[in-house]
């Protein structure tokens, strides 16, 4: 379980998050919905301890990670996987090298075990035959699947997705959403999905938190979103574009 408790964050004079509290339970898919540039990706980075809040606490499985040093955070981060918006694949490495890189770096596994896990992820992502390709030679959807495979390589309990369908065509988007849903159904994985696309939320999220002007204005099961009377939520439900 991941919990942000009364978290505030400022960049210079700009207040990004104001007293934000969000809880993500195991084996559930939680969406964080909001317009672009509102601080949604920042929430994911806070959950991983990549940045520290100005005030408030971040708990991962009841451990407060805010005072932890970088080296103390590494084992906690391995409980989670992350899929960055731009995938953040290493462009000088092949697909199989991208998948095996962190296993070689961080776990003392025998080479046969590393190869086994890489083959599993290649099959899971449906990328057989592309093992020796560089990321630049793959389509956007394929790169996203490699990034998901990489996030799964440590067998995490929770995966964080930063705009998983942004920039993808409708067919690739649907494939990625189905993949995320299948992870929960088959492996019991929890997920946090940061998105500005409301259709994605209704497609797979069990619950949703809406971030608007640095504050959480809604946090409940997805179905109840329709009942909200907040003007911003009413506007996004009436198919308006999510812009501030």
């Amino acid at each position: 379980m991941i919990e942000l408790r009364n978290v505030s964050l400022k960049y210079g004079d700009r207040e990004i998050l104001k007293n934000v509290s969000v809880t993500v339970r195991d084996n559930t898919i939680k969406a964080i919905l909001g317009p672009s540039g509102v601080g949604k990706s920042t929430i994911l980075k806070l959950m991983l301890g990549l940045i520290k809040p100005n005030s408030g606490k971040v708990f991962v499985d009841a451990t407060d990670i805010t005072p932890l040093k970088e080296t103390e955070l590494y084992p906690i981060r391995r409980k989670m996987g992350i899929v960055f918006q731009g995938n953040a694949l290493f462009d000088s490495m092949t697909i199989s090298q991208n998948l095996s890189f962190f296993l070689r770096e961080n776990l003392r596994l025998p080479e046969s075990e590393i190869e086994k896990r890489v083959v599993e992820q290649i099959q899971f992502a449906g990328l057989e035959g592309y093992e020796d390709q560089l990321p630049e030679n793959l389509s956007g959807g394929m790169r996203k699947r490699v990034a998901i495979g990489r996030a799964l390589i440590f067998n995490p309990r929770m995966i964080l997705f930063d705009e998983p369908t942004a920039g993808l065509d409708p067919v690739s988007s649907k494939k990625i959403l189905n993949l995320i849903d299948s992870l929960k159904q088959k492996s019991g994985l929890g997920a946090v999905i940061v998105t500005h696309i409301i259709d994605d939320v209704f497609a797979i999220a069990d619950c949703v938190a809406v971030l608007y002007k640095g504050e959480i204005i809604f946090d409940d099961v997805t179905e109840k979103l329709h009942e909200s009377q907040h003007p911003f939520i009413r506007s996004i439900l009436s198919d308006k574009i999510l812009e501030l």
């Binding site: 918006q85 462009d91 990489r150």
Partner: protein, 264 residues
């Protein structure tokens, strides 16, 4: 009105000073971390070899071009000057002091600041912008140990032989020019070089190599890590890295010479 303006200017200056001090603090911690991770070099030996090839082997042409050009120019200009005083036979001595103590390492430092420093800044800046550095941290790898430390060790190892190469090429080109331009016998030229060299000459020249290696690698890498704001941000951080490291190389060149010459 003037009071308000003065207050606004002083508060701006205070803010800039605060930002500068914070950046210095970050740079100090970044550098400390880079040195602290050197014991992990065995784990990252492949990265070290890659970087050694980039900053060492691949830098040979630019180091040769700059040192040959400066050696040749020195031979012509200093030779002309010495000829006026009838001291042409001292050309080897004057050229060797200038090349080995000062211009050899300095030019190599500036060339490598442009070549190796810009590569570091652009590569690490692009990795920062595309969240690859965040990915390293998110999956439990220390980005400074993986990306900066191998660059630092490679530069520390490779800058010394590059300095030797720059010195040799500069002196050799000066000897050739002395023979063909000033009609000075190579034996006389080299006789004014070797027997008169003293340990201090080499200490001054070769001490600069590791100092420049540290400056160039850490400044360019730090600026790469600090890149923000898309591709334009990568450009800005790369330029900043080159400008600052080149400036620091010039300053360090002066102080290393001053300290060694005064104390040896």
């Amino acid at each position: 009105m003037p009071t308000t303006l003065a207050r606004s200017l002083s508060s701006q200056a205070a803010l800039q000073l605060k930002e500068f001090l914070l950046t210095m603090q970050e740079f100090f911690l970044f550098s400390l971390r880079a040195f602290a991770t050197i014991p992990k070099i065995k784990r990252y030996w492949r990265d070290f070899l890659d970087q050694a090839t980039i900053c060492g082997t691949e830098s040979i042409p630019i180091v040769l071009v700059s040192s040959i050009s400066i050696g040749s120019l020195l031979a012509i200009e200093v030779g002309n000057l010495l000829e006026d005083f009838g001291a042409k036979t001292m050309l080897g001595r004057s050229t060797s002091i200038t090349v080995i103590r000062e211009l050899g390492p300095l030019l190599m430092g500036l060339m490598l600041s442009a070549r190796f420093g810009s590569r570091n800044g652009a590569e690490l800046g692009a990795m920062q912008i595309s969240e690859q550095i965040d990915a390293l941290r998110a999956f439990g790898t220390d980005p400074i140990a993986k990306l900066v430390m191998p660059r630092l060790v490679a530069a520390l190892v490779m800058f010394v032989p590059l300095t030797a190469l720059a010195d040799f090429a500069g002196l050799q080109s000066a000897a050739i020019l002395a023979e063909h331009y000033h009609r000075l016998d190579p034996g006389i030229f080299w006789n004014a070089v070797y027997p008169r060299m003293i340990p201090k000459d080499f200490v001054v020249g070769f001490l600069k190599a590791p100092v420049f290696a540290i400056i160039i690698t850490l400044v360019s890498s730090f600026n790469g890590f600090a890149a923000r704001g898309g591709t334009a941000g990568v450009g800005r951080s790369t330029i900043k890295g080159i400008v600052v490291s080149s400036g620091l190389v010039l300053i360090a060149n002066f102080y290393v010479s001053k300290i060694v010459l005064e104390n040896m």
